[in-house]
Symmetry: C2
Subunit: 332 residues, 2 copies
Amino acid sequence: MDAAVTESPIDRLSGLLGPEMAAVNTLIRERMASRHAPRIPEVTAHLVEAGGKRLRPLLTLAAAKLFDYQGPYHIHLAATVEFIHTATLLHDDVVDESEQRRGRPTANLLWDNKSSVLVGDYLLARAFQLMTDTGVMRVLEILSNASATISEGEVLQLSAAQDIATDESVYLQVIRGKTAALFSAATEVGAVIAGADEARVKALFDFGDALGIAFQIADDLLDYGGSSAAIGKNTGDDFRERKLTLPVIKALARADEQELAFWRRTIEKGDQRDGDLDEALRIMTRHGALESARDDALAWSAKARSALETLPDNEIRELLDELAEFVVMRIA
Amino acid sequence: MDAAVTESPIDRLSGLLGPEMAAVNTLIRERMASRHAPRIPEVTAHLVEAGGKRLRPLLTLAAAKLFDYQGPYHIHLAATVEFIHTATLLHDDVVDESEQRRGRPTANLLWDNKSSVLVGDYLLARAFQLMTDTGVMRVLEILSNASATISEGEVLQLSAAQDIATDESVYLQVIRGKTAALFSAATEVGAVIAGADEARVKALFDFGDALGIAFQIADDLLDYGGSSAAIGKNTGDDFRERKLTLPVIKALARADEQELAFWRRTIEKGDQRDGDLDEALRIMTRHGALESARDDALAWSAKARSALETLPDNEIRELLDELAEFVVMRIA
């Protein structure tokens, strides 16, 4: 076939929405400038130019274009979503004491924690200015609710971290906060700005929500090498950082006394030794925890795809459908 | 006279607006709750219950009541303003590595920096939800602009700190960001929600702006003992933290070579010895820097009072006028 079919659906969406994405990038550069504080564009450029996939703004543009919206406010909303995302990354890096993101040193290492916190605040304020520009109260509600869910999820993750009583419902709340809330807000505001009817707005919300959850479960699974439990280059980061992600939660739910002691020592107390990651993988495999997490991700992916069924049948919908398949492809 | 005249205008405004302030406090407690993350009210209660003066929400209520607004949205906006203020305090505590605020240990010491960053973000999101509840786009514009100015001012302060080239115009931008922007937004949205005409909305903005600037200059001056240069209990904190506040900026503008070397060593390089604070005060006194800063504060206070002239002549206006006098009383 032709070359296009080997490209990811993200690349193909980017291509299809090329002029709009260019307008989003221009708006982002304009709005992250600061007349008074040159430190701000220094810090944000580092992140914004780092060449992320721009998946979230792409979702907003796609949702609006699905209904043939001609603009101009999908551009503002896409930039808003990217600003909220970037602010979250800046604050996460302080919180996690991270040293790298996307293969570069994080802003908090290059500058300092102060700059990361304050520039993140600046981007949040800019995000609210951008959405206010649309004059549409409904999108302000959606995006301020999403912001609250994001930070609530992050605080919940703090208190749930290293608490082996954390169950799957808490995990779902945490990943809705850290990932799915912005995905679903991104698709929902795209539909709202395009004037879609309530049922279709709801369908776009459901799509973004399920896509985000599938995406995050897949990510957490890959940290244990995917369902094959093959140890890759970045395998085990979550284990070493004592993060209670879905595979561990599933293994914990089926743990015998000896396994419980193992999780208590390695995750709760953080007393980790050579060979512990291998042992964690053996326990997970024994209980089918990785396969079960994979099944959950696939089910969320299927849910995302079925949310699209009632939407206009066009090229955008086709690509969103492929995107929902794509985010779990690495673990299927 | 009666006991009331010995009370501060803040206390008297609080008394006059008692039922409204009670409604604000109820709304604050409601909205800072989190169903999913109990850590959030723990952290915020610590700050919100610490018994600050609640000056900013009081300004919003007063501005609305000046025009006899009957509600209900001045309550939402007053709570919004307090949430933005509290979020700023939480993020400032991370930034400054402060250990005390209002005589209590700061949240970042009691919990950790992570909680301060994330709970601050949560309060900001809650603030945006609250203002969205009003359905009035204009107040969203004002408050999102204020949020951007606040963080811009804080970033500017970071880069201006310890840079002895900082001049009075940069200082003014910094204190507009850290103090006056929220004061002026607080009074402006009160007027907007009450449906005041444009000239009066502008007058309320000008009042809040000048009041905030007078307040901050007075605060910075008191850190050097006020215009009398008397060393009090908390004198010299800014000097030790190498903050370039107005008295130092004024002394720097008039410094000879030897004095310049002194400021370079103590502020720029941070090499401070016993007796340096006394020497700083001697240099400031020699150049009349403290008196000049006091004159500026008094001029801003007068500007705030004259902004009130065209407004409805009632008890609220009288108290706002006294408030503008009161904030500089400690240094007059």
